[in-house]
């Protein structure tokens, strides 16, 4: 492992995990306040900066203050709790999404170094399988607390996550088939970088990857993936795992201090990863549409940086939609959630896969064999 690898890991950890998460927290709090006619937290500023003379909005240091508060609060472990698993659970929620980030190509290349921490040929499978480990964190948290409400919350959470994993994976299969079906490619690919490169060459997967007959499937696949990702991240309208009304709090009822903060961070990192996956699979990764991508072609270092900026821009846009959805839609009941997952999303995703297969064969002579 050389210096470039370390730098890439530092960037992914520093920006996507520990940079975007606090930013996301404060943006969400301010935006939700605006949507409800409030002002939101606008008092905590970084000392000595003086808001850069009014350039920065107030309250940017709020997540930092929250983190300090979380760290110094008393860390209570219930007497009857299973201590090992109790301590393990928050880590199981935070680390898998962070691991999922390593296969995501977040830019083209700088000085010949591809901007991706690990260039796995099975990147799609890796990210999917690693992300699904997060469900253990919720189940462990619920079980180890030795509290019946936590246990119910954990069970609900794991049932929800397992159900929607299916729709998530099936909607990705459609994408893989789209990116495999180009006439000039002989093989399909599970490498996220190759998927992005094919999207640059032929067109974004959300619009059928260059084959306009598949545009409908691409859009349906994107919507399915988006809905399933919302459920995977426990975001409204699918935030059933945590619930004050009937479960006291959910799987994290007994958690306090930094352990609770880790659960929350894991949720936000999960959102970032899902947004990054959406960008990679559907929205062309670091590329620009409408032929603008010629500004990113080439090996200049600033072009590499620009491609990273484009990728981050797409991720942030998706996160923004996440926030709007959270403050728009009311949550589902649990039976509605399961109904939507098993009776709507899974059949739709399967039908979408079949549709892509049929249209792909009909419209492309030759193609992937």
């Amino acid at each position: 492992m050389g210096l470039p690898d370390l730098l890439k890991i530092a960037f992914v950890l520093g920006f996507f995990v520990f940079g975007l998460t606090p930013l996301m927290v404060i943006v969400e709090r301010r935006l939700s306040a605006f949507m409800q006619g409030r002002i939101g937290p606008d008092r905590v500023d970084f000392p000595l900066l003086h808001r850069l003379g009014g350039l920065l909005p107030g309250g940017l240091a709020q997540p930092l203050a929250d983190a300090i508060k979380f760290i110094f609060k008393e860390d209570i472990i219930p007497d009857e709790a299973d201590r090992t698993i109790y301590v393990l659970a928050p880590l199981m929620v935070l680390i898998p999404p962070a691991l999922g980030l390593i296969v995501i190509p977040f830019g083209s290349e700088i000085a010949g170094v591809p901007l991706q921490v690990a260039n796995l040929s099975v990147g799609v499978l890796f990210s999917m399988s690693v992300l699904s480990i997060a469900v253990y964190g919720l189940a462990f948290g619920g079980w180890a607390s030795n509290n019946k409400y936590s246990l119910l919350g954990g069970l609900r959470a794991s049932a929800q996550l397992v159900s929607y994993e299916l729709a998530l994976a099936l909607s990705i299969i459609a994408v893989l088939m789209i990116s495999a079906g180009h006439p000039n490619e002989t093989l399909g690919t599970l490498d996220p970088r190759a998927i992005v490169e094919r999207q640059i060459k032929y067109g974004w997967n959300i619009l059928g990857g260059g084959n306009w007959w598949l545009a409908f499937s691409g859009i349906v696949g994107f919507i399915l993936f988006f809905v399933a990702a919302l459920a995977e991240n426990n975001r409204l309208p699918f935030d059933l795992p945590e619930c004050e009304a009937e479960l006291v709090g959910g799987y994290h009822t007994e958690y306090s201090s930094m352990k609770f903060a880790l659960f929350m961070m894991g949720e936000y990192v999960g959102m970032t990863v899902m947004a990054a996956l959406m960008t990679t699979f559907f929205l062309g990764g670091w590329s620009l549409p409408f032929g603008l991508n010629r500004f990113l072609d080439g090996s200049d270092w600033w072009k590499g940086l620009l491609s990273v900026g484009v990728f981050i821009g797409k991720v942030v846009a998706i996160l923004f939609v996440y926030v709007i959805i959270r403050w728009t839609l009311p949550r589902f009941k649990y039976n509605q959630l399961m109904d939507l997952g098993w009776k709507r999303l899974v059949p739709l995703a399967l039908a979408n896969v079949a549709l892509v297969a049929v249209i792909g064969v009909l419209t492309q002579s030759g193609g992937a064999k």
Partner: protein
């Protein structure tokens, strides 16, 4: 069922058009006027006619208008006004109050005293943020009421 109705039903079934409409509405709300006041910098200004703490008025010669007629004390539903009258030093009235206490903690700020007063001597001001650390401080005596 005609085609338009069918489309409408499809849109409801799909859920997504309605969700998008809702999201647009939410985004429009971002730019609405904020209801919150940033308190220490911005202060709430009560509307005209707001009923806050009382004061006793003075006439143009600087004398108190009150003639200790006990009308406000009688009208008060909370019984928070206590008046003790004494002979007046001035020729144009018989009595003036020597004790005029209002217990601001008992007062329900209904404004009945203001309605009842025949001399227009008592008034409710828009002040509502005066703080006290003891109950005694919130019993305003005649000097305090006159000085406001």
């Amino acid at each position: 069922m005609n085609f338009k109705k069918f489309l409408l039903k499809l849109a409801i079934k799909l859920y997504i058009p309605a969700a998008l409409k809702g999201m647009r509405y939410t985004m429009a709300r971002v730019f609405q006027k904020k209801a919150t006041l940033s308190y220490p910098e911005e202060v709430h200004v009560p509307r005209k006619g707001y009923r806050g703490e009382h004061r006793l008025k003075k006439d143009e010669q600087g004398r108190m208008k009150c003639v200790a007629c006990l009308m406000c004390q009688t009208a008060c539903p909370a019984e928070c006004i206590q008046i003790v009258g004494a002979p007046s030093p001035w020729a144009d009235r018989d009595k003036i109050p020597v004790v005029f206490n209002i217990d601001m903690l008992k007062c329900i700020y209904c404004g009945m005293c203001e309605e009842a007063c025949p001399c227009d001597a008592i008034e409710l001001t828009p002040t509502f943020t005066k703080v006290a650390t003891t109950r005694e401080e919130k019993i305003y005596d005649i000097n305090k009421l006159l000085s406001r």
